[in-house]
């Protein structure tokens, strides 16, 4: 049973406090320590699927978003080993989709791109797979571009948990898993609007509100001025 008892733990030798029952990621956020993440969104139940938030907790690699923090836990977040593992995960996301940042309308506002910049990834170590992915442009206001989808599932959980309408889901298995609208007509056949949480949940350029592209000038986009996670780290310095 969850209690409000305060516990102490350490991230990269920084002493932090947390409430019993919090995940490592939630506790780290509260203490102003940024752990990169893609499938996690604070107002959704943890997905634990992207593994970008992997940390070493008491010597074992764990997803920070699904692992409860424990008293005296020793967490490695910035070790070279962990950083390299995260880079490998991000690089795999890049090579298994078709992510053309130079021309993507989400460039500068994309969490995948921002984490790659933060982790100083210059080029992936794996060969590009150049998969054939589909676009669903059938809806007048929204489209899904499978090329840029990282299958984080934030849209699926947001549709279920916040919008309360299961209009998006996964199809396929393993490496072939894809996001799809729950209608044989595609997006045109579901009740979706630009204001829905499932549309706003997309961390990359996979779910896009039509005809809003490139409205924010370069220099004023979300990650133009400071790297992703800076707002979390600001809690520590303030």
């Amino acid at each position: 049973m969850m209690t409000s008892e305060k516990i102490t733990f350490y991230i990269d030798e920084i002493e932090c406090t947390a409430t019993q029952g919090q995940s490592i990621l939630e506790a780290a956020d509260e203490n102003g320590v940024y752990i990169p993440r893609l499938c996690h969104q604070p107002d959704l139940l943890p997905g634990g699927s992207c593994r970008v938030c992997t940390v070493s907790a008491n010597g074992r690699n764990q997803a920070a978003c699904t692992t409860p923090v424990a008293n005296d836990m020793i967490i490695e977040n910035g070790s070279e080993e962990i950083l390299d593992l995260r880079r490998a995960v991000i690089e795999m996301l890049f090579i298994e989709g078709n992510h053309y940042c130079p021309m993507c309308e989400r460039s500068g506002n994309c969490e995948l791109q921002a984490i790659a910049y933060r982790l100083k990834i210059l080029a992936p170590r794996f060969p590009f797979m150049f998969p054939s992915r589909k676009l669903d442009a059938t809806h007048p206001g929204i489209f899904i571009d499978g090329n840029r989808c990282i299958q984080c599932g934030r849209c699926v959980r947001a549709a279920q948990q916040i919008d309360k309408k299961p209009i998006l889901g996964f199809i396929g298995r393993g490496g072939a898993v894809r996001i799809k609208a729950s209608s044989t007509e595609g997006l045109k056949g579901v009740d979706i609007s630009p204001d829905d949480a499932c549309v706003k949940a997309c961390p990359v350029g996979a779910i896009i509100v039509k005809d809003t592209a490139y409205r924010k000038p370069i220099g004023e986009r979300m990650f133009d001025k400071q790297p992703i996670g800076s707002e979390i780290e600001a809690r520590r310095t303030s």
Binding site: P102, E105, L135, A137, F143, D211, A213, Y214, P217, I218
Partner: protein, 492 residues
């Protein structure tokens, strides 16, 4: 196998290859076939790159076009960015004549004239000044911009700073010096801040002075050997460009005008949305670059030149005072008739650079840049054509968009493509004049490159198409007998 190829194999003909052609954008090669008596029999400028923009833009949402297609080029991406944006303006129901807000049109013009300034400066100072200052057949170690910087530091400095000024204008209007996102269908995404505007105004008079000096420099080089300069790679041709409704030179918008070698108008004030009725494209099996032609004159005689020389031959006047004075001298040199001298492209280009600097000054003092409406929307339609005068000539963008906002068809006629035939003719003329009966040296071959360079070709832009060109692969035995052949056809 043709008799021609047999003669090459039997070594009765000699083949000289310049590969790659240097100090141009993109990759090309020249082959020159010389017979037993040292006469030039055949020349060809081959474009050896293979790209696919017209195909892989299909299926993408229409608003991506200005950002995707500009990746054709790193030298004048603004031209592709704006031509695609103009086409997509039509698609979102904001036509080219007065549809955009004043702010959007002026910001785009500023971006474009900034690009004209930087691209012309790059071509003249960085790529061509070694030929003009040291001589076409000078030592190869001197034929580069570093040698210019060593011997003519002031000229090199002016070139670099003029280019930087243009690049900074692009950054302030598009967000980045190369491949920005400023223009979006129906408008622009930013204003110019007053601080940036004041910074540009501080330096603009200096830029105008240097651009004026560049025109004088070309005239000085010309005066040292006018007969050679006038005849080098020259031939009569048709000329085509956009002109404003009143006949003025305008790089951003206008209607199509084409004139023949004597200045008689072939087309005038043609609305460019109907360009397909007036311009055809021919494909030949030895180049990845298409050969456009004026339909009225047919494939054989309809080829034409575009770019600075063509623009100054088609327009009636230049709407800025200093450039207009230089334009009058330029036109008077050929008695008011079109100037058909290939090397005079440099002269025309520098007059245009001066004009660009003057227009930038005029635009910078306009308050519409720093406030006002950015984006407009009208009645959505399924097709849009956008033309613009890019640094290298008239650029055509044409898109069809389906009801789901996806691009179904894209056709691009890129500036350098228009100059395909003229460049081949210039190569042939220079090869005949300079190489016939001589021992081929590196310096002599540079003459051929000088002729190509005058057109400022961007070969990477010009080979944007995939799936339309005939591609022929032949497997032959040692005697040249064809064992197997596969051919992919052409629709042109």
């Amino acid at each position: 196998m043709s008799e021609f190829v047999t003669r090459i194999r039997e070594k009765s003909l000699k083949k000289v290859v310049i590969d790659p052609v240097t100090r141009v954008e993109g990759h090309g090669k020249v082959t020159i076939i010389i017979d037993e008596e040292g006469r030039v029999e055949r020349t060809r400028l081959h474009i050896v790159e293979f790209r696919g923009f017209e195909r892989f833009i299909q299926g993408r949402p229409y608003w991506e076009a200005p950002v995707v297609v500009q990746r054709l080029c790193g030298i004048c991406p603004v031209s592709h960015h704006l031509a695609a944006a103009k086409a997509m303006d039509v698609v979102v129901g904001v036509g080219p004549d007065g549809g955009l807000s004043a702010t959007a049109e002026k910001m785009r013009r500023l971006m474009h004239y900034g690009q004209m300034l930087q691209s012309h400066a790059l071509h003249f100072y960085h790529l061509c000044s070694p030929d003009l200052l040291f001589g076409f057949e000078s030592d190869v170690s001197k034929r580069n911009v570093l040698a210019v910087a060593a011997e003519y530091p002031e000229i090199a400095k002016q070139g670099i700073l003029l280019r930087r000024y243009g690049q900074e204008i692009i950054r302030a209007t598009a967000g980045k010096r190369i491949h920005g996102t400023g223009a979006i269908p129906g408008g622009i995404n930013r204003h110019l801040s007053k601080e940036e505007r004041d910074g540009f105004l501080t330096d603009i008079d200096q830029m105008i002075e240097w651009a004026g000096a560049a025109v004088e420099l070309v005239k000085k080089v010309h005066s040292q050997n006018p007969d050679f300069f006038d005849s080098f790679g020259s031939f009569p041709s048709n000329h085509l460009s956009l002109v404003r409704k009143d006949g003025a030179l305008d790089f951003y918008h206008g209607n199509i005008r084409a004139v023949d070698a004597d200045g008689l108008k072939i087309y005038d004030q043609v609305d460019y949305k109907d360009y397909l009725d007036y311009i055809g494209e021919e494909v030949r099996n030895w180049s990845y670059m298409k050969f456009p032609f004026i339909r009225k004159l047919g494939k054989k005689n309809g080829w034409y030149r575009v770019g600075p020389l063509a623009r100054l031959n088609t327009c009636d006047f230049v709407p800025s005072p200093l450039a207009q004075k230089q334009f009058e001298i330029f036109r008077a040199y050929t008695g008011g008739k079109p100037n058909n001298c290939t090397l005079h492209y440099h002269w025309a280009r520098m007059i245009e650079m001066l004009h660009s600097a003057e227009v930038i000054k005029e635009l910078l003092s306009d308050d519409d840049l720093s406030s006002g409406e950015l984006i407009r929307r009208g009645q959505r339609v399924g097709e849009g054509v956008g033309l613009i005068e890019a640094p290298r000539g008239t650029l055509f963008h044409h898109y069809r968009v389906n009801g789901d906002d996806q691009i179904e068809m894209c056709n691009l006629i890129v500036s350098t493509t228009n100059n395909n035939d003229p460049m081949n003719k210039a190569v042939h003329r220079v090869a005949q004049d300079c190489l016939t009966g001589k021992e081929i040296t590196d310096g002599l071959l540079n003459n051929v490159e000088v002729a190509i360079r005058a057109y400022d070709p961007c070969l990477s832009c010009a080979t944007h198409a995939l799936g339309q060109m005939p591609l022929e692969v032949k497997l032959t035995d040692r005697e040249g007998n064809v064992i197997s052949a596969r051919r992919k056809g052409s629709r042109a």
